[in-house]
Amino acid sequence: MHALIDGVLTGSVYALMATGLTLIFGVMEIINVAQGILVILGAYFSYTLSTHFGIDLFLGLLITIPAMFVVGVVIERVFVARLKGPEKTAMSILVTYAIALVIEGSLNQIYSVNYQQLSAWYVNKSFELFGVYFPYIYVYGFLLAVGLLSALYVMLYRTRFGASIRASLADQAAAALVGIDVKRVSTICFGLGVAITGAGGMIYGATNTFNASSGADLISRLLTIIVLGGMGSLGGALVAGILMVTVEDIVGVVWSPIWSTMSFFIVLVVVLSLRPQGLFGKLSSRVA
């Protein structure tokens, strides 16, 4: 039971972070492995705002999210947009990895390697649910994740801009043909994908201790989630995020915590051997 609740609560936060990743991949065929460290960057933003300026964590997001959006846009314009050619996706991994190294090094310089955790009353206080205690932050974080994901869905399915993003997700070349400015859409998408991680970072930082090297552990989970869900599928990321954390928790309780982390990856390997396109992915289109 505990595992299930935690799976849904924490899983949705992972899903939020993974959504940014899958959105970027779907539209641009870019795998942004800096996503993990960007989550941590978001966490440090929140940390600075709350410890140095005394701003509430959730209120601080009003600054953090736009700031992360700008970070994303800059990274896209300066580095990612230059990638071209058949090896673009592989190169994107290397480039964003290098960006991650630079950010990681800088964060280490600025904040030292000591572990931090965000604090606020709702981080420290717990409430009881089905006989298990949960800090309030889990629920608030869950609500925030659901809220942001819904906002994203509304934007994608109800606005004109959302339609052009979806058109680019389906077929970049065709989208360009009907007059969609794919370059601009890509930049904004990247910005959005990174901006969401700002919120994810705050929740992550409040529910875990972190330092700059936590990014590496995070990215491997996020990648697993998007592959499991089917790369480029937004709904898939949500389902896979919740599924993964639930499985991990159950294995942790039933067997041992050692196996729980491994189960994460084993689920992926098993699913992929049965369904190479992931849970919700589409096989590459028709043979002409």
Binding site: A90, I93, N108, S220, T224, I226, W259, M262
Partner: protein
Amino acid sequence: MKKWSNLWWLAGLVVALVLPLVMTNPAYRGIAVYTLLFTACATSWNMFSGYSGYVNLGAAVFYGTGAYSEDLLANHLNMSGGAALFWLVPLSGVVAMLIGIPVGLVALRVRRHTYVVITIAIFFVFQLAATNFGFTGGTAGLTIPFIPWMASYFDVPFYYVALAVLIFAILLSAGVRRSRFGLQLLAIRDDEDRALGLGVQVAAVKLTGYVMSGFVIGMCGAIYAMKQGQIYPQFVFDPLFDITVALMCFFGGFGTLVGPIIGGVVLESAQQYLTVTYSSGGSLYLIIFGALFLLVILFMPRGIVVYVKDWWGRRQSRIESSQTAATAGVAS
């Protein structure tokens, strides 16, 4: 042209052979051994990933497996430390290759982009397994029988064995490039479905390429284990290894024969140098390495080899056109 390139290879070989005799500083010799090992890894990584386009970001699976088998075999066979341990190196390569068969069967079922990510996931499975299983010694790692060689001479045998492995890797990669098998890998890179429809047994060809690269990388891991004496899961199953090897190939020229050699030699020696110089400020090293890496990829996206070739081609055609212009001038 052909003559010249043969001469270059010969020159490189001679330099590599005499280097440890000239370079007597043990620290530099150590750097040289690592450079050879990484260059061999890059060369054979490229032999599969570069030719087929299936970018493998889990090559450390082979490296770590090779390292662990070296130690486990040495301990099981009750060997004493010494040159005899080198016999286990090819054996460890074979073990890495065998482990690569089931891994490849799973990973190669998916196409390109997903493949990249699943190799990362499989890598983490191996890292976690090495950290948590009993027979791997857990986080404490494993120790190989002590090798009682003098410090001043210690790295020399390693150097020559690593060089032999590198030469083997280069010959293998060149051989693949000339073979029908290599042609099939290239066809898979360009259009896998089309290749399948022309009778290429793509699944078998991909798996073969994958485990072949695993053999060499596994041997390198084994040499590393022997040289270190002690191995830890996080150092032999290191995500940085995966990225570094891929970077060397992209830096030098993805899918070319010489690219990974240049990339390996330049980057590994630079990295070792940076580590030695900035070892105090570990994060500063990360920043410098990351920034260098970005510069290279952004300014030479197709790698040094292609960049130089293009430049040379442009230069030649400029010379030719100016010559024709000159003769035309004379004629008129």
